[in-house]
Symmetry: C2
C-alpha cells in the first residue's frame, strides 16, 4: 500500500508562520544516560500552530469550540487532493468550480506552497469568497499546504467562514510528492484538552476502508 | 464504522508516570482576543513520555535510533487486543502462549490498568521473559494500557529486549471500552525530529483496508 507522509518535520529552526520566534519549537533533554538510570527523556515546547495542525473554532471565534469537539469519525476519512499549482495569489470559487466538489468531502489544496521550504509572505491562501463557496457546498474539511488558510485578513474572514460552519481546517501540509487524486486522509490531532488547535501527524493512503 | 479513541487526554493535572512533576504538561495562552488581533494562540510544554506515546530505541539504548526511524508503513496496521485483564503483577510468556501470536503482529495488552485512572505503582507490566518470547516470535509492535511497558527494572531489560529487536512500543493506551479482538490500529507519532519518543493520537477501527 502506498502511504504518503504529508506532515512537516518539527525541529528547532523549522519554517514557522511569519518566522515568529514564539512559534519555534524548543526541545530540552531532561535525562541522558548520565544519572545512573540509563535512559533518555526529553520534552518539547510547541506552539499549537507550528507544523502540521488542525484548528478548532476557538482559534478565531471568541468562546468557540475547542479541540474537545474534534470527532474521531473525522480522523480517518476519504479525501481529494486538488491540483491548484497554477493558482497565483488566492484561491477563489472560480478555481474550485471545475472540481465538482460535493457535500461532505474533505478537500486538500496542492499549490505552489508545497514546492517552497522557507516562509513565503505571499503564500497561496483561500480567499473569503472561496471559503464562502466551500461553506455553501457543506464540505467536511479543507487542508492547505500553507501554514495558514488565510493571509493577512484583519477580520480573519476565511477562518471564521469555515470554522463558523464547523468545517475542519488542516494547515501546514506537505504535498509536493503527492499526485492529485483520491486518498484516505489520516489526520488524528493530538488529544490536548480544551485548546484552540492541536498538532497532527497527517498521512495519505491509497486504498479503501471497508467494514 | 466503529472507531475507538484509545488515547489519554492531555491536560495539566493528568495522570503521569510515577506522578513526577516534570511529566506534567503546561499550557500557556500567548494571545487571547485582547490585543486587537482577534485570535487565540497557545503553546504546550510536553514531556515526550506523557500521555499516549511511542518509544524509539534511543529512549533506552545509548546511541539508538530516534523517532526519525519510525516508518509510515507501521502507522496504520492490523492489530489484536488481547484480554489480559486476569493477569496479576506481570505478563509472562505463559499468559501469551494461548493467543497463538504470529510474526509481524501488532499486539495490544488490555489489562486491569485500563480500569484505573490514577497512577498505580503496581501497574501490570511485561516481564523480561515475556518480552523475550515476543521478540522470538518477531512481532511488529506491542501496546500497553500502562504508562510504561516495564516496571522498576534497574537495567530496563523489557524495553531493551523489545527496542533492540526493532519492536515498536506504544504506551499509555486506554482500552476500557474496547472488546478484545482484531482491529486496525492508527498510531502515527507526531513528527518530532531526532528525539527518543513522540506523542500519538491512537485510534482503533473496525474494518479492513484494501487497495
Amino acid at each position: 500500500m502506498v502511504i504518503y507522509d504529508i506532515s512537516m518535520n518539527i525541529y528547532p529552526g523549522m519554517t514557522v508562520y511569519k518566522n515568529k520566534a514564539e512559534k519555534q519549537p524548543q526541545i530540552e533533554v531532561l535525562r541522558d544516560f548520565k544519572d545512573g538510570e540509563g535512559a533518555r527523556e526529553s520534552r518539547i515546547l510547541l506552539e499549537l500552530h507550528t507544523g502540521t495542525h488542525m484548528d478548532a473554532p476557538l482559534h478565531m471565534v471568541e468562546g468557540g469550540a475547542t479541540t474537545d469537539a474534534f470527532q474521531v469519525e473525522n480522523m480517518v476519512v476519504p479525501c481529494r487532493v486538488l491540483d491548484l499549482t497554477g493558482v497565483e495569489d488566492g484561491i477563489a470559487a472560480c478555481h474550485l468550480e471545475g472540481f465538482h466538489i460535493k457535500e461532505g468531502e474533505f478537500i486538500l489544496f496542492k499549490t505552489r506552497n508545497s514546492f517552497r521550504e522557507d516562509f513565503d509572505p505571499d503564500f497561496i491562501y483561500l480567499k473569503q469568497e472561496g471559503a464562502e463557496y466551500l461553506a455553501r457546498l457543506g464540505i467536511r474539511g479543507v487542508g492547505t499546504d500553507a501554514l495558514g488558510i488565510e493571509r493577512s485578513q484583519p477580520d480573519h474572514a476565511t477562518h471564521k467562514t469555515l470554522l463558523g460552519e464547523g468545517i475542519l481546517i488542516l494547515e501546514g501540509l506537505r504535498l509536493r510528492e503527492v499526485p492529485p487524486g483520491e486518498y484516505i486522509l489520516v489526520a488524528a490531532p493530538l488529544k490536548i484538552a480544551g485548546v484552540e488547535a492541536a498538532p497532527v501527524r497527517a498521512l495519505l493512503m491509497e486504498g479503501k476502508i471497508s467494514q
